[in-house]
């Protein structure tokens, strides 16, 4: 399965009080993620797959797999729109 990973160049991020704050330096735009978004962000920073992401959401939030997959797809679409995922 295709590995998903956050872009490394010109993307800086920190985690503060359980929330991710990121700066996309090329376009000078900010991204913030909390809760589930932070969980997914951490996994994407290390490199992961959609299945692994779904496993994490199901385990952490006790939701069914179908809903987890839909949430992940929505989150990944936002990251793709902003060019934050590695090619």
């Amino acid at each position: 399965m295709t590995e998903l990973r956050l872009r490394v160049d010109d993307l800086h991020w920190r985690e503060i009080d359980g929330e991710v704050i990121a700066l996309e330096a090329r376009g000078s735009t900010y991204v913030a993620a909390n809760g589930a978004g932070t969980l997914l962000w951490r996994a994407l920073a290390a490199g992961t797959t959609p299945d692994e992401l779904a496993d994490q959401l199901v385990t952490a939030y006790g939701i069914d797999r179908e809903r987890a997959a839909a949430d992940i797809e929505h989150f990944l679409a936002q990251l793709r729109d902003q060019g934050l995922l590695a090619a």
Binding site: D10, H12, D17, S28
Partner: protein, 324 residues
């Protein structure tokens, strides 16, 4: 070194607003986190803001470097923050950059897309030009003609500082900074510029930079620049307040607010204005500075100040603004 500051912050009754004025709010946040204490939302917002600024700094410096060919020497701000040894311990809101031809650099940056901000009048006849910002980024850029230095205290020329430049620790190609010894003295001068030995954070900055510096070389440089008295006083204050060692007469007599991370009272403010030149200025300039300060104190205001001697300075300022 932070252990003593942590104890000082743990024992202070000052609210976060005062710790912000002292520029130690992030050290307090780190201390609270380490102790498992809850953080107020404002303090978390401080941490977030600091993180965003830290992340923005290197990209902004790269844009500045691309826009101007001359020397670009970064002072204070992120360079000092990096010396703290961990992210998020020292806030900054601007990039102070010393350059050989500030107007030319300003023009080059504007041509590259930077925009001037804030009122023009504020920046006439001071040590840097009107701040610039890159749309979307939180930091402003200040291009300096000279280092910020108290007028009564001799200091280095811009040429001397630029000649001493070393690569910035932030790793942005073509961006330089000062060697730790030079930087320490620039930070010390900064600690005297706005209000002599006013902020605890200034003291911590100096202590942090001193960890990278040769203490004897700093003293030698201070002699060469003619600011030994200012440096000796600052060094003793840093040792007493930040490192918890030795004795500082200046801290005891006119900067005791540092030990409590609190505001100066009205009385302490006046004492500082009157006597701090004795500790920091070259001997020949001391009588003039004290006379000038004594003349500045109008009898009507002095009487009112005396009646409010124990009030924190900001409270007194609010009172005088309200009553005229």
């Amino acid at each position: 070194m932070f252990e003593h500051v942590d104890r000082l912050l743990a024992s202070t009754s000052s609210p976060a607003s005062v710790l912000r004025v002292h520029r130690v709010e992030l050290l307090d946040a780190a201390r609270r986190r380490a102790a498992g204490l809850e953080l107020e939302p404002d303090l978390i917002a401080d941490e977030t803001r600091a993180a965003v600024n830290e992340m923005a700094a290197t990209g902004l410096l790269a844009r500045i470097r691309a826009a101007y060919d001359g020397p670009l020497l970064l002072m204070k701000g992120p360079e000092v923050a990096a010396a703290y040894g961990a992210n998020g311990l020292r806030s900054f809101g601007d990039l102070d950059i010393l350059t050989d031809d500030a107007p030319a650099a300003q023009a080059a940056l504007i041509a590259a897309g930077f925009q001037e901000v804030f009122d023009e009048e504020i920046y006439e006849d001071i040590h840097h030009l009107r701040p610039l910002w890159w749309p979307g980024l939180p930091l402003v850029v200040e291009l300096h003609m000279r280092a910020n230095w108290p007028a009564a205290i001799p200091g280095p020329s811009t040429e001397e500082l630029l000649a001493a430049a070393v690569p910035s620790t932030l790793g942005v190609p073509g961006i330089t900074t000062l060697p730790p010894e030079h930087h320490t003295l620039v930070l010390a001068a900064h600690a005297w510029e706005h209000q002599a030995l006013g902020r605890l954070g200034n003291m911590v900055d100096i202590a942090v930079m001193l960890r990278r510096a040769d203490d004897a070389e700093v003293a030698r440089l201070a002699r060469a620049w003619g600011c030994s008295r200012m440096w000796r006083t600052t060094r003793r204050a840093v040792r007493a307040v930040v490192e918890g060692k030795g004795h500082s007469a200046a801290v005891t007599l006119w900067a005791r607010h540092l030990r409590g991370a609190r505001e100066r009272t009205v009385f302490e403010w006046h004492v500082k204005d009157l006597v701090s030149p004795l500790w920091g200025y070259p001997v020949a300039r001391v009588p003039g500075a004290i006379l000038s300060e004594a003349r500045r104190m109008q009898p009507r205001h002095s009487w009112r100040a005396l009646r409010n001697a124990r009030r924190p300075r900001s409270e007194y300022n609010q009172l005088t603004e309200a009553t005229g």
